[in-house]
Symmetry: C2
Subunit: 114 residues, 2 copies
């Protein structure tokens, strides 16, 4: 697999680089929660079970840095903040859907999902 | 996404369960190195750049526990040990290939791969 540098970090493969964008417990659930279009922070928080405010804020910041999500602030009283997927993030869904399928296959094999 | 318990651990989604089997820096490179058939430990080690013996042994043990890899010991002088993919692991390659494709797309967008 091709190795390369990005922002002074050495990646051993494109797979590792992809995981830097969508990996971890929370990035994929956040991307999935934004799949239908822009969502306000409060609704995003309540649509992802078990996530804390601290974790959601940290993960959203990381996703913004990686140009997977954009943040829009509307000057209203109170101000409204919405998050939206970038086109780069939209292209992750075939992978995420296939991962979910594989996870369901494994869970059925292990007898923990019907 | 469906939540479930497996071996007393709570998984928030099938995606998370899939990542427990193929996630992390080294599992996918190891699975890819076994793609063409059984491989002896020494050859496996030399075919995965940057991996240490300690890390390879730990990851192989985890992959065995998750029934992704089997280990065969041949009673010879010296004994020969070979690792092989299970059918469950073979089914991970469509996901891994798509992740690699997505990673290449991202790397090209960032200008770090041609």
């Amino acid at each position: 697999m091709k190795e390369f540098l990005h922002q002074q970090r050495h990646y051993y493969s494109p797979v590792e680089f992809a995981m830097a964008h969508i990996g971890g417990t929370w990035k994929m659930p956040i991307l999935l929660a934004l799949r239908q279009g822009p969502v306000r922070y409060g609704i995003l928080k309540s649509s992802i079970p078990h996530i804390s405010d601290k974790m959601l804020i940290t993960q959203l910041r990381e996703l913004e840095e990686k140009k997977m999500v954009t943040r829009h602030t509307y000057i209203e009283k109170p101000p409204r903040v919405e998050y939206q997927l970038t086109s780069r993030a939209e292209k992750a869904f075939p992978v995420i859907d296939l991962l979910a399928e594989y996870g369901c296959f494994l869970a059925r094999e292990e007898g923990c999902l019907q």
